[in-house]
Symmetry: C3
Subunit: 350 residues, 3 copies
Amino acid sequence: MAISLGELAVRFGCELRGDPATLVDSVAALGHAHGRSITFLANSKHRKELELTQAAAVILDRKNADSSRVQVLIHENPYATYARIAATLHPLPTRAPGVHPSAIVAANACIDASAYVGPLTVIEEGVTIGARAVIGPHCVLEAGVVVEEDVRLVSRVTLCRGVAIGARTLLHTGVVIGTDGFGFAPERGGAWLKVPQVGSVRVGPDVEIGANTTVDRGAIEDTVIEEGVKLDNQIQIAHNVHVGAHTAMAACVGIAGSVNIGKRCMIGGAVGISGHLSIADDVVVTGLSMVSHTINQAGVYSSGIPTEEARKWRRTVARFKRWRTVEERLAALERAIHAPPRARQEEDDD
Amino acid sequence: MAISLGELAVRFGCELRGDPATLVDSVAALGHAHGRSITFLANSKHRKELELTQAAAVILDRKNADSSRVQVLIHENPYATYARIAATLHPLPTRAPGVHPSAIVAANACIDASAYVGPLTVIEEGVTIGARAVIGPHCVLEAGVVVEEDVRLVSRVTLCRGVAIGARTLLHTGVVIGTDGFGFAPERGGAWLKVPQVGSVRVGPDVEIGANTTVDRGAIEDTVIEEGVKLDNQIQIAHNVHVGAHTAMAACVGIAGSVNIGKRCMIGGAVGISGHLSIADDVVVTGLSMVSHTINQAGVYSSGIPTEEARKWRRTVARFKRWRTVEERLAALERAIHAPPRARQEEDDD
Amino acid sequence: MAISLGELAVRFGCELRGDPATLVDSVAALGHAHGRSITFLANSKHRKELELTQAAAVILDRKNADSSRVQVLIHENPYATYARIAATLHPLPTRAPGVHPSAIVAANACIDASAYVGPLTVIEEGVTIGARAVIGPHCVLEAGVVVEEDVRLVSRVTLCRGVAIGARTLLHTGVVIGTDGFGFAPERGGAWLKVPQVGSVRVGPDVEIGANTTVDRGAIEDTVIEEGVKLDNQIQIAHNVHVGAHTAMAACVGIAGSVNIGKRCMIGGAVGISGHLSIADDVVVTGLSMVSHTINQAGVYSSGIPTEEARKWRRTVARFKRWRTVEERLAALERAIHAPPRARQEEDDD
């Protein structure tokens, strides 16, 4: 598909400095763009690449507009405008409505006539699928699942019994929503008795969930993912977690049971969050941190320690573990030189 | 389904304080219970909610029994009793025996007449499936797999060649048992040669394994998961690991090859365990810890560091990395004030 | 299958000390070998077990050859020779060429006549499958995927649109290659706008990727996995990552976007690597480390802290967090005893 810069400017509310008749047919990175591609500059630190780009045009904001030697589309949010233009130039393949003959569909499932159900997908009793939903191959929608309009399940998505998915939500390959939470009662002798997980999962509209991410059903009440939440791949959300609207999490995050996460949070990759705590709105947690206490204040939180050369690191850890000795030597010195007496740090013997 | 408190008391060995004819039809959380639901109190710190509950009845132990204003079922293990009553009031859907016509079943597979095989499941040569087993949709049971009685594979479970699954074990969606271990021999020039993984996996009875968890087959001998083990979602168990009976692991744990874990251990979420080490019986490891040495003693072990505000954390890490300087300054002071001479801490120069 | 020591010696270039007519039919561990099995010694620290082995023969290097009481095959790389012999004695099941009738194959897919396509696999428009490739059950190959000769997809592998897989590459159950990268543009009010992921993934020849590992497609350019790379289970590779040839990663590693990893690196289990950084050739990162800065030098890098008993650990962390106090007390002492004045460590107030 080719489209003119003039039409892009009108459609996406940009100021055009260039020839409205110029056609573009693809997006490209600043440094790899060619004659008919359009690119963008969202971060001034890439301005050097801007000078060398071979793109037909570049999307940028007003303050960088004069640095371009090629045609420009000016918008206050160049990255979002790029996203919209990319979606226009590179549309996803569409699916004609209908149910593939190899799908296994319960007689009383209610599938909108405009929806698509792909090959080898299993739709159980009482499932409802909304208008224009696209259910890819190898999905399982267990009994009573409700999928609203324009939802897209890419492939091999499993929605367990009774799960509800909001409009326009996108679930990638391997996602499992509504699997049993990890609940066991200890019995005499060390054995564990399974606690039935009778809650469900409610996923809001405009959510996106990445490949192989799992969301457990609630133990009694529901697990809830609010509108606009974005979850990357291989995240684990335990039972009765509540994720507030527009919160984004990078890959490999693990969240234990009954955690309450606020709105517009950003959780870095591989963060672990302990059970039964709360995180306020607008909290950022950097990657690989351990959140083991409630966070009441918006702000940025960390606990990961960067690598160093391994021999050096071993000495760093050894010093870390003899810290007590340092404090004791320090206290001894303070006594010895008659420094103003100081309350000894509280210290259990260990 | 509705059931009387009198019948619940008899069936689960409780003392009833209330009207045996009262009917309940569901379980509920203390704070959300309504007229015909039953709830429980397993932890005295929720006693305040007990005073406000609208439940028909509450399950609790003798010492909390007098605090309830509603009817009570008294049992020394209220949580386990709750679990049994929940399973009674909210039974899982059952499957009539038989093989779905869309399943692909090898001619010489041996499937008990009381078992169920769901749609689009693949059963290869020589597989044995025991009485009342329920194999959900989209599973693959490779050649020679043995599944004992009352096993349940929820959906999309893969059992690789020759894997054996004990009675009553429950495997959730996306589980892979018996995939190749990560074994490669280094060759000249940096290339890796695959080492065939000729062992298998034996999973005991009464095990539960969560969604998208993977268990590797042994390199030569088998990987073993003993009876009653409970594994949460997205856990990785490498080749030749041995997990002792009734050990429980929270989500996202990773265990390297040939680790030997004792009985009744509890491994917190996202813990990592290095290869070729042993963990004694009754060890607890808290979430996000790194176990890189054998643990010979029962007890609780940790190494995760909680988050703090990010700017503060950066300074904490910087101090951590200049610890050597602190020890040197301390030694200099000790010399300067003629403190009793003290053996200098051994220290390589770095 | 049984094979003589004489034939093994010839086929794999070993010196035989023993009877060339001795037959072996299986591999075994040193300590569990029986009469007709062959075993190996790759590490001198297992030499004690060598003295007790009941194997028919053992593969080892010249310097350990005299320690064996059983027959020996001598090779400078015993582990690699073991791997080759194990592959000979325990061949994988083969598949006769052809497409299973339950597979769903687009009319214009191009499948080599010597390839195998398993039951219930979906092959979309324009897919190309090379000679002798084996595509197991429940795979999805989306439109335009190219799979070269001798590739093996064990089962339930998803290759998203346009992904290319090099010759002899082996992908295990649950692998997803080419799912959307995690790209969103922030909009006013905190909502996120999806950024189309228009790049693809190129996987080189002789790669192996473990169960449930996910590799994201590039945002604009491609994500690249070079030849001979070995990835364990449950790894997450984000968009536009480049992994150099023969690099190996243990399970549960997470790599953020646009990371460039060199050749022959070894990344330990559960390592996290932050976005937009580079790692040189021949870097080793030990398990559970956090890589948050570029590594320019070959070498070994770490940051994980081993567990200790939990009460002790809590005190260790408390000391860690009052480090600032230690430095202040030290500075006060230095002033008090008129130690040679020393530049105060730079320190923001906190």
